[in-house]
């Protein structure tokens, strides 16, 4: 489980149907916060949201976009597309992490980053997103109807290392599709919840690294509150404060700033000190 109020944690799930999402919603104690245009769920203690996209690529793109805006997701957010799939290569119930996404409609392929797969020993394979439920499974890999659409948008708003496509095998050649109901899907998911948590744990550790990279240096906010800095001055200030922290960890840069100093005088003062 995720600790409460963990700094920097931010997770979004994009799942087609309620049956696929039910165990995730329960496991992470999410509550419904919107019904239209898509049902949206949220945890009250930390920044985790889930959207039910409905079936198909267009719905997946639309729901991912909607959730991105509605939940005010930052760049450093984990995005997971989860759901059931069919395949001729695996057994029903197996959890698969996707390492290549192709589409029956588009030329480009997508490759989720292997950093999410690190040391988790979960099966990996390619996925083909199709527009109609697949029955023949002519190619190796797994078939779904959303992942391509999901990934095409997620890769624009988040680092590749934080995007994951996770699927559970629900049907294989010969499966009677009418027997796959909400309840049977919930059972399949509940059996894999621990492995799903393992994948999330990997993603969270990558998120932590990025969080630290993006974090403003110490005193940055305080100094920006004191004086008006232009955008490019803020870039320089960020750089100087980072260097300051490394060079003079015991010296408080706020003490270098005189009351009447302008933004450029402050930057000059920092620069002069760092030259020595």
């Amino acid at each position: 489980m995720i600790e409460k109020n963990l700094e920097g944690v931010s997770v979004r799930w994009v799942i087609a149907l309620k049956g696929e999402a039910e165990e995730i919603i329960k496991n992470y104690a999410m509550k419904r916060v919107a019904t239209t245009p898509f049902p949206v769920y949220k945890n009250k203690d930390f920044d985790m949201w889930l959207i039910l996209s409905g079936i198909g690529q267009l719905n997946a793109v639309a729901a991912t976009t909607y959730l991105y805006v509605k939940s005010d997701a930052s760049y450093n957010t984990i995005w997971i597309n989860f759901g059931i799939v069919g395949s001729r290569n695996f057994k029903v119930g197996e959890l698969i992490q996707i390492d290549k996404i192709t589409s029956s409609d588009f030329q480009d392929n997508y490759y989720p980053s292997p950093s999410a797969f690190k040391n988790n020993n979960i099966e990996r394979c390619n996925l083909i997103t199709v527009n109609k439920p697949e029955k023949l499974f002519e190619n190796d890999g797994v078939y779904d109807m959303e992942a391509y659409g999901f990934f095409s948008f997620a890769k624009k708003i988040a680092p590749h290392e934080l995007i994951s496509v996770l699927k559970i095998i629900s049907d294989i050649p010969g499966t009677d599709l009418s027997e796959i109901d909400k309840h049977s899907v919930e059972i399949l998911v509940s059996k894999q919840i621990q492995l799903i948590e393992k994948v999330l744990k990997n993603l969270l550790s990558s998120q932590k690294i990025i969080f630290l990279q993006l974090k403003d240096p110490k005193y940055f906010d305080e100094i920006c509150l004191q004086k008006k800095f232009t955008f490019s001055q803020k870039v320089t200030l960020r750089k100087y404060l980072t260097q300051w922290q490394a060079r003079f960890p015991q010296r408080n840069p706020l003490e270098e700033i005189g009351q009447r100093m302008t933004a450029s005088q402050i930057l000059k003062k920092f620069s002069d000190n760092l030259m020595r």
Partner: protein
């Protein structure tokens, strides 16, 4: 080690690609159309990828031999470099690769023959000129030798062109390939070096400087020609004492006559690279001395650069002939 391999459809069945793939029995191999699908997308995080890099096998389509940057060289009129690989096994904090590429995955171009025929063409075109070919600019070729066998392929190739110099820039202490081949008079094994204490902080995952010196001695005794590359020179509070000690240690072990050339280089980055580095290493004191100049280049203050260059040159002159000295960049 590598647990994910991407291989371009066009080369996946070639002998070289298969030879490399066979070294990673447990890796998952995924076919791709072009390496750019994996290597080029933006929004990739270099530092995270560096914790578990994948291997990409591809075919280089063009740009096999490139002019070396101006000012780069060891005395010849024409200087070229060629890169059969992007990214490195090591993880030096100041490495420009982390500012240059979106991806930290190892990218290996397996069509070595195409490189060789382009090099051949270049040699024939400029046969009256003296020239050097550098490798190890976008990677450490020797460090990856157990995987690529690159040097094993290129040492016999350059043995056919005695007038052309071939420099292998490295920090690796892998010497297997130099034991397999007879020493080549036109091949320079050039070691990047800095004081041990700095290397411990900055040259992450690379062999210690003392191990590099030991290996240089071994290679020199076998008859290989050695290059000393103090590039980049790193500024810190007691740099003079540290560099003096380093030079003394090297020349204690290696005879001057085995040294082919010595070069000194400054630490320089384009501004955008440097901003990324600061994000990656906010606590690096070594990076805190760097400043941006009016041309958008990040470097030490000119006075620091000059002082370091002059001091190191004069110290090195205690051990070696000034004619062997060159500047990098």
């Amino acid at each position: 080690m590598v647990d994910t391999i991407y291989a371009e459809d066009e080369i996946i069945d070639t002998k070289k690609a298969q030879e490399i793939i066979s070294k990673f029995r447990h890796a998952k191999v995924t076919s791709i159309k072009r390496f750019g699908e994996i290597f080029n997308p933006s929004n990739q995080n270099f530092r995270i990828q560096k914790t578990n890099p994948a291997l990409i096998l591809a075919k280089k389509q063009k740009g096999f031999v490139l002019d070396a940057p101006k000012g780069f060289g060891i005395g010849d009129q024409n200087n070229y470099y060629f890169s059969h690989m992007y990214n490195c096994l090591y993880d030096c904090s100041y490495c420009f690769l982390q500012g240059m590429y979106n991806s930290a995955n190892y990218l290996v171009f397996v069509n070595f023959h195409d490189y060789q025929s382009e090099i051949e063409k270049t040699i024939k075109k400029h046969k009256e000129k003296k020239m050097t070919f550098f490798t190890g600019y976008d990677c450490d070729s020797l460090a990856m030798e157990p995987i690529t066998n690159f040097i094993n392929d290129f040492v016999p190739f350059f043995s056919r062109y005695k007038k052309v110099l071939f420099e292998i820039r490295t920090k690796s202490i892998n010497n297997t390939v130099f034991r397999t081949h007879d020493p080549l008079a036109n091949c320079i094994v050039a070691y990047s070096l800095m004081p041990e204490a700095l290397a411990q902080i900055l040259d992450k995952k690379a062999p210690s400087v003392s191990a590099r010196i030991k290996n240089m001695k071994y290679l020199a005794n076998k008859g290989w020609r050695i290059g000393l590359r103090f590039d980049p020179l790193i500024y810190c509070s007691n740099w003079k004492a540290q560099y003096s000690e380093l030079f003394a240690n090297i020349f204690n072990e290696i005879k001057e006559e085995n040294i082919h050339s010595i070069s000194l280089g400054s630490l320089r980055f384009p501004k955008s690279f440097f901003n990324k580095l600061l994000q990656y290493y906010p606590n690096s004191e070594e990076l805190s001395f760097l400043r941006s100049n009016d041309k958008g280049i990040i470097s030490y203050d000119q006075s620091i650069e000059n002082e370091m260059n002059e001091y190191c040159r004069s110290e090195l002159m205690k051990y070696s002939d000034a004619r062997k000295f060159f500047s990098c960049g």
